[in-house]
């Protein structure tokens, strides 16, 4: 399966298994979603389970909160992460805090799915990676899969989680793995082991990072599209790198990450989002706290520029293999 089919399969299964699950969002029903993730679901489950909403992200999330408080498990789609900001107040002020505010009496287990990241020439307003501004808010869980197999299992776990989850889908990975080289012909997920997705129900637990490649020389900590870019960069340098796919920013599996860095003594953190106060800053600080006495070099960060995503310069902004390679070299050189 590609990632679209894997996500569709997760939604299909959850709609089937649990009558409390409701899918909602702009164009998700009749149209089947701009990226086809919800294709066929309204036909199968009806308009009362798969709801077309007006273009009103604040209203979508706000309504989902009310539904969730009252026993449902809404899965809301925000068409692009770039359009989540009209809902930011509802997410931060209401969704994230309801449990704390009511001392645990009320909760809103809403899942918000939203495509993120660049690589499809979306320019300033169809390419953003805003995970850090959600990870910063206590009460939210934040997830980003890097492959179809994880996408399905994580989405099921997110829907079943008792807390709100912001579920980012790197849209450049919908149809195939992408190693950061836009000139290479696209490859489908059928060429990748993680494109093999079981039809049945399964969960990938939130809060567990995955070691996607074991290695001894250096640890690369990353997530989303950058997992594939980092793999390619390490391969090009011939480094025996350990590559960790964070998968879940909140809760963060610092144990897996720290165990690796303590062993390798060197670390590069990579994401596509802007660098300043990006999630890499949290990773870098946490790793330093846990691994200071094992570190043999400063932790390097690879990230997007501290600018909006410039339309005609996507591949300059995007932290591709060369930028990762430079960071790896810097981390390997320093004593």
């Amino acid at each position: 399966m590609n990632m679209i089919q894997a996500l569709n399969s997760a939604l299909d299964l959850m709609l089937e298994r649990d009558s409390a699950v409701v899918v909602m969002g702009e164009d998700v029903g009749y149209y089947g979603g701009v990226f086809r993730v919800t294709d066929g679901l309204q036909r199968k489950y009806g308009e009362h389970r798969v709801l077309d909403t007006p273009i009103a992200e604040g209203g979508i999330v706000a309504t989902a909160i009310g539904m969730a408080v009252n026993g449902l498990k809404p899965v809301a789609e925000v068409q692009f992460a770039d359009y989540i900001y009209p809902a930011y107040d509802q997410i931060v002020s209401e969704l994230a805090r309801l449990r704390y505010r009511s001392a645990g009496e009320f909760t809103a287990p809403v899942t918000i799915r939203t495509p993120c990241g660049g690589g499809i020439r979306g320019g300033q307003t169809h390419s953003q990676s805003p995970e850090a501004i959600f990870a910063h808010v206590s009460g939210l869980k934040v997830v980003m899969p890097s492959n179809p197999c994880d996408a399905k299992g994580l989405l099921i776990a997110a829907i079943e989680a008792p807390d709100p989850v912001i579920f980012f889908e790197p849209k450049r990975l919908y149809n195939g793995p992408f190693d950061g080289d836009p000139d290479k012909p696209a490859v489908p997920w059928s060429t990748h082991p993680k494109g093999e997705v079981p039809d049945a129900y399964y969960r990938v637990p939130l809060g567990k990072a995955e070691v996607v490649r074991q290695g001894e020389q250096i640890t690369l900590v990353t997530y989303g599209t950058m997992v594939h870019v980092c793999e390619a960069a390490a391969r090009r340098l011939g480094l025996d790198a350990e590559i960790i796919d964070v998968r879940s920013m909140v809760p963060l599996d610092i144990e897996t990450i720290a165990a690796s860095v303590q062993r390798t003594g060197r670390c590069v953190v990579a994401h596509e989002a802007t660098r300043f106060a990006g999630f890499g800053a949290e990773l870098s600080a946490s790793i330093q706290e846990h691994c200071f006495w094992s570190l043999e070099a400063p932790i390097q960060r690879v990230a997007g520029w501290d600018t909006p995503y410039p339309h005609a310069f996507e591949w300059e902004y995007f932290p591709g293999q060369v930028r990762v390679m430079r960071a790896l070299e810097a981390a390997m050189e320093a004593q």
Binding site: Y30, G32, I55, P86, Q124, T125, H126, P310, H311, F313
Partner: protein, 329 residues
């Protein structure tokens, strides 16, 4: 050809309006072609079918007025008088483009013509129009603010906040809703409780009127009345221009949400076809005139493509510019 209180349709005006619509149509037809050739990349939303709205509205505005538009804004930018050359260069992403390649199709800006953007955020531009108008009012300037948006935007909070503020403070804003019946793949009736946008605007005490958005003269007449009222100190006005987009929402859209027959029926009423037919029948222009305008528009588009092709890329080291001010502390 003219109705009560309307500008008369003399030959010169008929030619101007037709020229205006033809320029937009040809610019965009070429953009679609260049998209196929991968010269223009990214998201591209064409205005094809809605040309009468931008053309009719802009005819009634002056240089002191401000415009705010959407991601479907090539037509507004051209009708406002931004040169096709710098627009095409932006479509290509070149340094000579109106946003120096940073914005592309959805983010056209031009200070000289007070064109405050393309905006890819649905309803994102409405509040800015309110602020532009308030600033004009406070500075005792005569300019009005004109804001274009689709009917889909009427569901967003910004629509309601903007109409309320503009009405409460009695501001010179002209809200132009281009109701083309579909927001991406979702028909208006599937997503909004009132499909009559003008009715909704009246609940905020705006002057509001539905207009045949396929008829450039009807759009211009309604705009002229609205602008006169706004300049005379009247409160905000909303025009709901009933129109249709003939092409897909963007370049990726299988259009499974509407019937071919429906598109064909609207095409028959297309703004260019209907206006050309009408002014020919009235003896205002000849087929030769039409052909000449076509050829002129084509030549202008050709020149714009040459300009864009020969443009340069912004140097990578300059791409950090314009995040913050370059002078001052």
């Amino acid at each position: 050809m003219s109705g009560a209180g309307e500008a008369p349709v003399v030959r010169e005006r008929a030619l101007e309006l037709l020229r205006g619509m033809l320029r937009i149509r040809q610019f965009e037809d070429r953009c679609a072609q260049l998209y196929g050739e991968q010269k223009i990349r990214g998201f591209l939303h064409l205005y094809n079918g809605q040309e009468a709205v931008a053309t009719g509205v802009m005819e009634c505005l002056g240089p002191e007025d401000s415009i705010v538009a959407t991601y479907r804004e090539h037509g507004h930018a051209i009708a406002r008088g931004i040169p096709m050359t710098t627009l095409m260069a932006e479509m290509y992403g070149k340094r000579e483009g109106v946003s120096r390649g940073r914005g592309g199709s959805m983010h056209l800006f031009d200070a000289a013509t007070r064109f405050y953007g393309g905006n890819a955020i649905v309803a994102g531009g409405l509040p800015m129009a309110v602020g532009l108008a308030l600033a004009n009012r406070l500075a005792r300037r005569s300019g009005i603010a004109v804001c274009f948006f689709g009917e889909g935007a009427a569901a967003e909070g910004e629509f309601h906040e903007s109409l309320n503020l503009a009405a409460l403070w009695h501001l010179p804003v002209l809200f132009v809703c281009e109701n083309n019946l579909y927001a991406m793949g979702t028909a208006l009736a599937r997503s909004q409780a009132t499909t009559d946008i003008a009715v909704r605007a009246r609940t905020y005490t705006l002057e509001a009127q539905a207009v045949d958005g396929m008829d450039v003269l009807a759009v211009a007449a309604a705009t002229r009345r609205a602008v006169a009222s706004l300049r005379a100190g009247g409160g905000p006005v909303l025009l709901e221009c009933r129109t249709y987009r003939f092409r897909a929402h963007s370049m990726f859209d299988a259009q499974l949400y509407r019937e071919r027959e429906e598109v064909e029926a609207w095409r028959e009423r297309g703004p260019l076809i209907s206006f050309t037919r009408r002014i020919k029948a009235a003896g205002l222009i000849t087929e030769d005139d039409f052909q000449r305008l076509q050829a002129e528009a084509e030549a202008e588009v050709d020149a714009a493509v040459v300009f864009a092709e020969s443009g340069e890329w912004e140097p990578v080291e300059d791409l950090g510019r314009f995040v913050y001010a370059e002078t001052g502390a």
